[in-house]
């Protein structure tokens, strides 16, 4: 192990890690919002909206993420939509994760016991009140583990946007080891940084599960 070398390049790697965190965070927020909107469309009574989301999820889940990144970066410009690499990367990650978040949110929402909903209807709550005051709050805890799981995937998938030269952790690592030839040191460090980021998410999950556990206490 060439520790001095790692030490020398650490500032570059950490800076790139910030880019990874930034891309992942924005994509997580956007992806969640799109996912939530699509979930409402999917459980709405409108057949066209349901079908739209169904097809969307089918396409996102059925095609490689790499292909989706290329499509947004190289194919959209033929329709006059030219995005800087980093924006294309964020768009790809957001749209991709949204496709997975939809099913996570939908499963949690539809698993809320009917009795909870009927209790709201029975006192005269309107459908949206039942949704926002009962169904969604009760969905948070069951959705949490798969939601964090998909968010961890999102952080790892962000390494794929290196293929369109976004200078995040993976891209930076590659350019460092291709000039220094110290693959193990550099990739090992990058791996540890990914692990650290995802550990934060993992801890967040555990903490939130604990905080939300009051309603299972018996």
């Amino acid at each position: 192990m060439d520790f001095p070398l790692i030490w020398n390049y650490l500032p570059y790697l950490l800076h790139a890690a910030l880019v990874t965190i930034g891309i992942s965070f924005v994509s997580l927020v956007m992806g969640s919002l799109i996912g939530l909107a699509f979930t409402f469309m999917r459980i709405s009574r409108s057949r066209p909206l349901q079908i739209f989301v169904w097809v969307y999820v089918w396409l996102i889940r059925g095609t490689p993420m790499l292909l989706q990144i290329f499509a947004i970066y190289y194919w959209l410009p033929t329709y006059g939509i030219m995005l800087p690499a980093i924006v294309a990367g964020v768009v790809a990650l957001s749209l991709n994760s949204a496709g997975y978040y939809v099913d996570i949110f939908r499963a949690a929402i539809t698993a809320v016991p009917t009795g909870q909903i009927e209790a709201g209807q029975a006192i005269g709550m309107r459908p949206w009140q039942v949704m926002f005051r009962i169904v969604i709050p009760l969905s948070v805890r069951p959705a949490l583990p798969p939601y964090i799981g998909q968010s961890i995937n999102l952080v790892k998938n962000s390494s794929l946007v290196s293929v369109i030269s976004v200078q995040e952790l993976m891209f930076t690592s590659q350019s460092i080891y291709s000039s220094t030839y110290r693959v193990a040191e550099i990739l090992g460090t990058a791996g540890l940084i990914y692990l650290a980021i995802n550990t934060v998410l993992q801890v967040l999950q555990t903490w939130m599960e604990k905080r939300l556990s009051y309603y299972t206490v018996r």
């Binding site: 009927e118 029975a122 709550m125 459908p127 009760l138």
Partner: protein, 246 residues
């Protein structure tokens, strides 16, 4: 006498299967009507049609004088349901809200009461069901009997014209049944209009002023508890009464 609930030839089907057949029933203000009958008789469905958790397909239903349209929008439904309190077998308290918030949600969201007023009302109701000290607890921290009493308070917080009870004590440990029946008895004494599906024959006999006996989606017999329990007319009712007494 003001009629609170009027069923006029009301029928309800699940698919092709009739579960309520030409129901005629009138519940006046202050009535306590006990609904009894074998499993699958349609008792729950009868209650759920009253607050339109289930829609009927034919006949006329009037609640507090207003006809319930089969194709009512969510606004009309909400207005109807605000007038009708319902207590479920499994309590259905919201586990993510404190006891106080469970009770305040209706007055706040549906009636638009200011926080202070809703809280005063909720606390008074908690006092009435003997659970004032539990206002900050969560449902998961209460016994079944306590949860059901909170659920009754939650329904009462809407100041409903009528209260529906669907086997409110069936899910409880025998030891906890009494405290809930006590609250219900108190309500009846305060002249609350009540439609009570129950398997507690003693309660039905002592508290109800009228018994409705259902089987196979029909009301087979209706009358004062004394007459009904001592001399049921319909053969099925006779068999049912002798079985629950035996």
């Amino acid at each position: 006498m003001t009629a609170i609930i009027e069923f006029d030839q009301v029928s309800k089907y699940y698919g092709d299967v009739p579960v309520l057949k030409n129901i005629n029933l009138r519940v006046d203000e202050g009535d306590v009507v006990g609904v009894i009958g074998p499993s699958g008789a349609g008792k729950s469905t009868l209650l759920r049609v009253v607050n339109q958790l289930e829609q009927h397909q034919s006949g006329t239903l009037r609640i507090a004088g207003e006809t319930v349209e089969a194709k009512a929008g969510s606004r009309e439904l909400a207005l109807l349901r605000a007038k009708v309190g319902m207590v479920f077998q499994n309590f259905n308290l919201w586990p993510h809200l404190s006891v106080l918030d469970n009770i305040m949600t209706g007055p706040r969201c549906v009636l638009g009461l200011p926080r202070q007023e809703a809280e005063t009302r909720a606390l008074a109701l908690l006092e009435r069901v003997g659970l004032k000290a539990f206002s900050d607890k969560y449902p998961g921290q209460l016994s079944g009997g306590q949860q059901q009493r909170v659920a009754i308070a939650r329904a009462l917080a809407m100041k409903p014209r009528v209260m529906l009870f669907d086997e409110a004590t069936s899910a409880l440990d025998p030891a906890l049944v009494g405290e809930v029946l006590e609250v219900m008895t108190q309500l009846a004494l305060e002249r609350m209009t009540m439609l009570v599906v129950t398997h507690e024959m003693r309660f039905a006999r002592q508290v109800a002023n009228r018994i409705v006996f259902m089987a196979g989606g029909e009301i087979l017999e209706e009358g004062p508890p004394v007459t009904f329990f001592s001399a049921p007319q319909h053969p099925i009712a006779r068999k049912f009464v002798s079985k629950v007494h035996g």
